[in-house]
């Protein structure tokens, strides 16, 4: 093998790795769809609270949680069927989100009813869980925009401890918008740009 052949072989390897990297890039749809459902849910909860319709709060939260779970399951199923390549990084992320989703369900629907803490602590704990999940996802998938969106959630968690009433809904909505939907949009834009090249 000559020097040029060795370099040609290295260029084949580089080309294949680049192609695979491009084909397995994160589309951002997961963040976008679940972000939109969560934002609608948060605004609905705010409206119900403002209208003193407390009886409707739990059904609204159940609908939001079920919708998010259904969307996540649909995206996961679609990835499995449509995507010809499975990466270790994505598999790790799905398990991470499954674990964080289970933790969020316990925080939302189990512990407050067992009087472990009051309902006012729920959004704070959800924000912390989100911050951890996004930071880990950003690290595993090498997506700085997702990694650093955790700061929005951690800041939101701190702010939520300082305010009550309607401002909490505003803080939570801002968290979802800046810490989930905006990064999702940025990822989706990058993904579409790369796909069209």
């Amino acid at each position: 093998m000559e020097h040029t052949n060795a370099q040609q072989e290295l260029s084949i390897i580089k080309q294949m790795v680049e192609k695979t990297r491009k084909d397995t890039a994160e589309s951002g749809r997961f963040f976008l769809y679940i972000g939109i459902v969560s934002l609608i849910g948060t605004i609905t909860v705010g409206i119900l609270e403002a209208a003193s319709m407390q009886n409707w709060l739990l059904p609204a939260l159940v609908i939001v949680a079920l919708s998010s779970a259904a969307i996540a399951a649909a995206i996961m199923h679609r990835e499995k069927i449509m995507n010809p390549v499975k990466t270790y990084a994505k598999a790790i992320c799905w398990h991470l989100w499954l674990a964080c989703g289970c933790a969020a369900l316990l925080i939302l629907f189990v512990f407050p009813f067992l009087r472990v803490y009051s309902f006012s602590a729920v959004p704070v704990l959800i924000c912390v869980i989100m911050g951890i999940a996004l930071y880990s996802t950003g690290i595993v998938l090498e997506l700085p925009v997702i990694q650093w969106s955790c700061l929005v959630w951690i800041t939101g968690a701190i702010l939520l401890t300082l305010v009550t009433g309607l401002p909490r809904i505003i803080v939570m909505s801002a968290n979802i918008l800046l810490g989930w939907i905006v990064p999702g949009c940025l990822l989706n834009r990058t993904y579409r740009q790369r796909s069209s090249q």
């Binding site: 000559e2 060795a6 072989e9 390897i13 294949m16 695979t20 010809p84 390549v85 499975k86 270790y88």
Partner: protein, 103 residues
């Protein structure tokens, strides 16, 4: 290039299609047949032959499944395959470094 260097180059990985397949599989958990065919720019028969050789050598594992009525073939690199591929890369790098030194 010395005899020793030639001996160190794994002939099983040396073929361009097999090198391309191992490069893809080293970067992912598993990839299906159609993806490998498209990315490595190979034909069905050609790729099948190369995959069989890699499987016989224990470098990759092939799993055939059904999604509905549609058959799908998934390939993944084995531990041995990954080690051999890394050794192959090391040898390539050594050859390039040596040639650069000679120049």
């Amino acid at each position: 290039m010395s005899r020793e260097e030639i001996k160190n180059i794994d002939p099983l990985i040396h073929a361009p299609v097999r090198l391309a397949v191992l490069s893809i599989l080293a970067a992912v958990q598993q990839a299906d047949f159609s993806y490998l065919k498209k990315t490595a720019d190979a034909t069905d028969g050609n790729l099948s032959r190369h995959l069989s050789k890699l499987e016989d050598a224990g470098y990759i594992s092939i799993k055939k499944t059904f999604e509905g009525k549609k058959p799908r073939t998934f390939c993944s690199i084995t531990k041995k395959g990954r080690e051999m591929f890394m050794a192959y890369l090391d040898n390539l790098q050594k050859i390039i470094d040596k040639q650069k030194g000679d120049v």
